[in-house]
Symmetry: C2
Subunit: 181 residues, 2 copies
């Protein structure tokens, strides 16, 4: 095996989501993020790793709220766009059709497959990033594509898995472990 | 959209890795984890969310080290096995061919595609879990399947994306964003 410079490439591809921040009617921003993970069920919580200079982090710190939007791979151009531009340089509020969250005042992406509305619980400083820990106040899915037991129906839709730069993957073939032993 | 009970299903499927813990020659344990994310480049770091009762967490706290092993989907039975049994009830040290890490004394999985050797940097308490934050001391990939610029070559191999229970997905079709706009 050979040493790898960018360690994170070993951990990709990863689902890429749209983070909505700001406050509906005042300031709205979207960015793409794949350094996201659920972390606990009690309380329901997730983390997002954000660069310290990012506008998204600043808005989450101001308003204490954000959304995580699970989008179909058909929105990959919009996803890449909000992931490669900074809200400090341009207004990204109109890249997606959006509306106010129900539990939070941050924006949600209307054409999402699923939306998680989150309240900032805690932050952890870590070199060039902050880990934002969010409590999930509400989690909703488009019932045409989601099953409460097995999650998304990847025969009907796919989500973008971020590889590197402009490269993404779809979700592939299903494999069932036999679970013997 | 309908409300979802298990919010984390909205964020799956996610790459599932094997976490190696303990100390080679003394105590060795493996578990499966998909609630894992890279979080920063400076320092190179990642998080793993672990149940407070897990043996893996206990061993990481004792020895201050662990490994994250990226395995091919051909090892899905072994992956599911170490993910569905507790090291408190049975010895999981021989499920994989293993050896000592190079930078850490924790075990690595020999048939991995990639291995990240980590030192415990910090922990965050969060209800029923602890977030383990690891500094990546070494990251290595099997050069037959890895490109320094674009990561894994998913035309040649696949990794398991965890869906739910025994269900996994392979990585699918490649999609390149045009990046116009």
């Amino acid at each position: 095996m050979k040493e790898v410079r960018d360690f994170y490439l070993l951990l990709h591809p990863r689902p890429a989501y749209v983070i909505g921040s700001g406050r509906w009617g005042e300031r709205v921003n979207f960015m793409a993020a794949s350094w996201v993970s659920p972390v606990g069920e009690e309380p329901p919580s997730l983390i997002v790793a954000l660069g310290k200079e990012s506008l998204t982090l600043e808005l989450i710190e101001i308003y204490g709220e954000f959304t995580v939007n699970v989008i179909p791979i058909s929105l990959v151009e919009e996803l890449y766009y909000v992931g490669s531009r900074s809200g400090r340089d341009e207004d990204k509020s109109r890249v997606f059709k959006a509306e106010r969250g129900e539990k939070v005042s941050a924006p949600i992406v209307k054409d999402s497959l699923g939306v998680l509305e989150c309240k900032l619980m805690n932050e952890v400083e870590l070199g060039d990033v902050k880990l934002v820990i969010g409590e999930v106040l509400s989690a909703k899915a488009d019932e045409r594509f989601f099953n409460e037991r097995t999650g998304w129906d990847f025969k009907k839709i796919s989500i973008p898995l971020h590889n590197w730069g402009r490269g993404f993957f779809k979700v592939g073939e299903f494999v069932m472990a036999k679970g013997k032993g």
